[in-house]
């Protein structure tokens, strides 16, 4: 505990008394050095009798109590226990000393302020800097607070250096234990006070983020490292234990910075060797990531690359893409391109953080490098290439190639030849299970994208069960997210459940920005859109969009753009829908096989264009569709929507049969255009006029608009025959439509119930082969009668 700096902050100066190191005692004596021959016990007794009559409250502060010897400590203890109640002690020490104060503690007379209490909070650090006249951006204050770990003296030293500094923000960013003021303090107060072997241990282990006794001994070539570390921690000498059993330690950030500087200064050539030694120990003891970092720090690229290639499958299977990315960044690019294993890892990394094109280039390098790899490394490189190739071809939705890669991986999983891959039997069995789970899930995902839902479900369920059994939550999460996408077509409840399970795993393990999490969010968004719960769908679409890595993952990216388009279409935001669907198209072109959302995403822009009144553009969009997309149900619906917007099939049919009629719609111009093709059979009139003149009204509009018309015209419909071709459905994508009234209800009966007395309803004309009544359409007719239709945006036009 090093506290003086903080106390000085208070601005008040208490009556200090500091014992000197090796001093015999006399803590309360006002002239300790004037009478060196005095007996400490006698002084204590005299002090007690002198203090006895004191009536006022007095605070006696004794600093650096850790400097006292055993006798002086007992004398201090006697003093503390026997002084009159008005006298209070403040004892400051860097570490716990043997003072028999437990009785005071039991009586509640002892207040202990320990290191966590002394540590400055962020707010206190900010206040300290402000009162020192230092103005810093918040980010710099946070950084300083983090570097100093709230250590008051460190903050104070930083504040002193910062006052009058020309660029305080830059200073704060670079502040470390190598800063002159801090370095001087730490050297004088901590490092120089240590024995030579302790100093040596501190310097040589300063390259580590965490140190234990064994590793310390390895780096010093000495023994007893653990004892030294424990003592240093006990003495509050900037050594902090990392675990409950106190076997792993780290150094305070500032202290570590100073130690590293001192190591470079005093033993510049040894650092690389120390890093290499540490890398070997860490790799052997199951700390591959740290081992790779030290191998890189040693500049031993061969060792680092070998370690990364060895451990990448594990990192991948545990969803550690960010760690892989960071480790790869530690290699020079020349090394990345020539090492086959490393090139394979770089290909996988491009899938997470870069582009599919770059991933394929690295994969090519890895494949070529494998052929020329030394025997010892070739099998391992082949395994890596196999796994990565599966990941890469999966992104293109290329089912035959995926199936081929899966067969290869499964062959490797079933018969891992010892000469083929040099592993212990247990590790080989575990690898086999990993590969099997990976293959099943990779295959299942491709089957989902290519619309083979039954096979997808079977493979994904087996993959998820296996992943769960072998403890690979990342694979389980990936499988569940795609199972949700399969379930979506059968049961909303089960699909939502799968999606939530996947997202729970993602939250727990920090995979919320993984593309598979995007797939799970997409499922939840789609379900809500189909259910018409559009406001609830929005946040899920947003979450899915945050995971979008379209450059590297076109299949997932396409689905996410599609659901955005569908949601906007359902909301009537046609232009936004069009933009999202157009963004999906370049991704669709990068897929090898037809993805299940591709024809849907290609047909939906026709709906949006029709609604926007751009029927010519809609016609062009339809004409641009390739044959396989043209046959899709969604395309046929889009075609029907367009034809109905362009023309009126009922009207055309009547004219062809020689039947005269009135044509009414909101858009008189459009009505006239239709009528002009009907050889004088249709007379265009207003809706009002059509209602008055016709005996039979064919009202071709959505049920809701139908109700509106009934309410509007009411009694004027008495005596009329009302023909209802409406279908009680709404557009929600995926084949287009869902019933919007109860399963046992019919729109004919509902509407008949709303008609005024004297009006009679007939259900007909709703089953034509391009039969969907399009929103905003109304047709009516009678023998010598009327077709009422409603144009886009509720403009009406009548005709005869």
């Amino acid at each position: 505990m090093i506290v003086p700096a903080r106390r000085r902050l208070s601005g008040r100066r208490p009556p200090w008394t500091s014992p000197r190191r090796g001093d015999g005692g006399c803590p309360g004596c006002t002239r300790p050095s004037a009478a060196p021959d005095l007996d400490g016990w006698a002084i204590t007794e005299r002090l007690l009798s002198d203090l006895a009559p004191l009536a006022d409250r007095i605070w006696l502060v004794i600093d650096d109590v850790h400097e006292l010897g055993p006798d002086a400590l007992r004398q201090l203890e006697l003093l503390v226990l026997r002084v009159p109640p008005g006298l209070r002690f403040v004892l400051a020490t860097r570490h716990d000393v043997r003072l028999g104060l437990h009785r005071l503690r039991l009586e509640g007379e002892l207040t202990e302020i320990r290191e966590p209490d002394l540590r400055f909070t962020l707010a206190e650090a900010r206040e300290l800097l402000e009162t020192s006249g230092v103005e810093l951006p918040e980010a710099a204050v946070v950084m300083l607070h983090e570097r100093t770990e709230g250590w008051a003296a460190g903050l104070r030293l930083a504040a002193l250096s910062l006052a009058g500094h020309p660029d305080p923000a830059r200073f704060a960013a670079g502040f470390s234990g190598t800063d002159r003021t801090v370095a001087e303090y730490l050297l004088a107060e901590v490092l120089d006070r240590q024995r030579d072997e302790v100093r040596r241990l501190l310097l040589r282990t300063s390259i580590l983020e965490g140190v234990n006794g064994e590793l310390a001994d390895l780096l010093t070539g000495d023994t007893g490292g653990e004892r030294v570390l424990l003592d240093l921690e006990q003495a509050n000498a900037f050594v902090i234990s990392l675990d409950g059993s106190r076997s792993w330690f780290r150094y305070h950030h500032l202290f570590a910075g100073l130690l590293q500087l001192e190591l470079r200064r005093t033993a510049p050539v040894e650092a690389a060797a120390l890093h290499r030694t540490a890398a070997g120990w860490l790799a052997e003891h199951g700390y591959p990531v740290e081992a790779i970092r030290h191998a890189q720090a040693a500049g031993d690229w061969g060792l680092a690359a070998g370690l990364l290639a060895d451990h990448w499958p594990g990192l991948h299977l545990d969803g550690q893409a960010a760690t892989t990315h960071e480790l790869l960044a530690g290699f020079p690019s020349s090394v990345r391109a020539v090492d086959a294993g490393l090139a394979a890892v770089a290909a996988a990394d491009e899938l997470a953080y870069g582009s599919l094109g770059a991933a394929e280039r690295y994969l090519g390098l890895a494949e070529r490098g494998t052929a020329s790899a030394p025997d010892a490394r070739r099998a391992q490189a082949q395994l890596l290439v196999g796994i990565v190739r599966l990941l890469v071809v999966r992104q293109r939705g290329d089912l035959p190639t995926v199936a081929e890669e899966v067969r290869r991986l499964q062959a490797l999983a079933d018969a891992p030849d010892a000469t083929h891959y040099d592993l212990a039997p247990a590790a080989r069995a575990a690898l086999g299970q990993d590969l099997r789970a990976m293959a099943l899930i990779g295959l299942g995902i491709t089957e989902v994208w290519t619309g083979r839902f039954q096979e997808a479900e079977r493979h994904l369920e087996r993959g998820v069960a296996l992943a769960r059994r072998i403890g690979r939550p990342f694979l389980e999460f990936t499988g569940l997210a795609h199972l949700a996408a399969v379930e979506m077509f059968r049961s909303y409840a089960r699909a939502a459940e799968r999606g939530r399970q996947a997202l729970e795993l993602a939250e727990r393990h920090g995979w919320a920005s993984d593309p598979a999490a995007g797939t799970a969010c997409m499922v939840l968004a789609t379900i809500r859109t189909w259910q018409g719960r559009l406001d609830e769908a929005e946040p899920w679409v947003q979450r899915a969009e945050r995971t979008l890595a379209a450059d590297a993952q076109p299949a997932t990216g396409h689905v996410i753009c599609y659901i955005r388009g569908l949601l906007e279409l359902a909301r009537g935001r046609d232009a936004d829908a069009l933009a999202a669907l157009r963004a999906a198209e370049p991704l669709a072109r990068r897929l090898a096989a037809p993805h299940y959302t591709v024809p849907r995403a290609r047909a939906l822009p026709v709906h949006a264009l029709v609604r926007l009144g751009e029927t010519e553009a809609a016609e062009q969009a339809l004409a641009d569709l390739a044959g396989q997309d043209r046959d899709h149900g969604e395309t046929r619906i889009a075609t029907a929507v367009l034809r109905l917007a362009q023309d009126d099939p009922h009207a055309a049919n009547f004219a062809a049969g020689g039947q005269d009629f009135l044509l009414a719609g909101r858009d008189q111009e459009a009505a006239r255009k239709i009528a002009s093709d009907l050889d004088g059979h249709a007379e265009v009139v207003s809706v009002d006029e059509a209602v008055d003149r016709a005996d039979v009204l064919i009202i071709a509009v959505w049920p809701d608009d139908f109700k509106e018309l009934i309410a509007q015209y009411g009694g004027r419909l008495a005596g009329k025959v009302i023909v209802d071709p409406s279908n009680p459905v709404g557009p929600v994508g995926q084949g287009g439509y869902r019933k919007v009234i109860g399963a046992q209800e019919s729109s004919g009966q509902i509407l008949a119930g709303l008609l005024p007395a004297g009006a009679r309803l007939v259900k007909a004309f709703g089953t034509l082969s391009a039969p969907h009544p399009v929103r905003g359409r109304l047709a009516g007719a009678r023998a010598r009668g009327a077709v009422l239709r409603r144009g886009r945006r509720r403009r009406r036009r009548p005709g005869r």
């Binding site: 049919n653 009547f654 279908n727 019919s746 309803l761 259900k763």
Partner: protein, 63 residues
């Protein structure tokens, strides 16, 4: 062929005449309580159990 449903036979006939005028054979499915069958997802709708457009002969068999 086109289906229709009406509670009133005279009114049904009027609409049947219109269906004929449009070039289709009219087939009655009965009263309005049957109209659910000729709405989407109904058993006599192209996008229901029927699954396609049918001829009058076929239609008469299924109603």
């Amino acid at each position: 062929m086109q289906f229709y449903a009406a509670d009133d036979a005279a009114v049904g006939d009027l609409v049947a005449e219109l269906i004929r005028a449009g070039g289709f054979d009219p087939v009655s499915v009965g009263g309005l309580d049957q109209s659910i069958r000729i709405e989407m997802f109904g058993d006599l709708h192209e996008y229901g159990a029927l699954g396609r457009v049918v001829t009058k002969t076929e239609a008469l068999k299924v109603i």
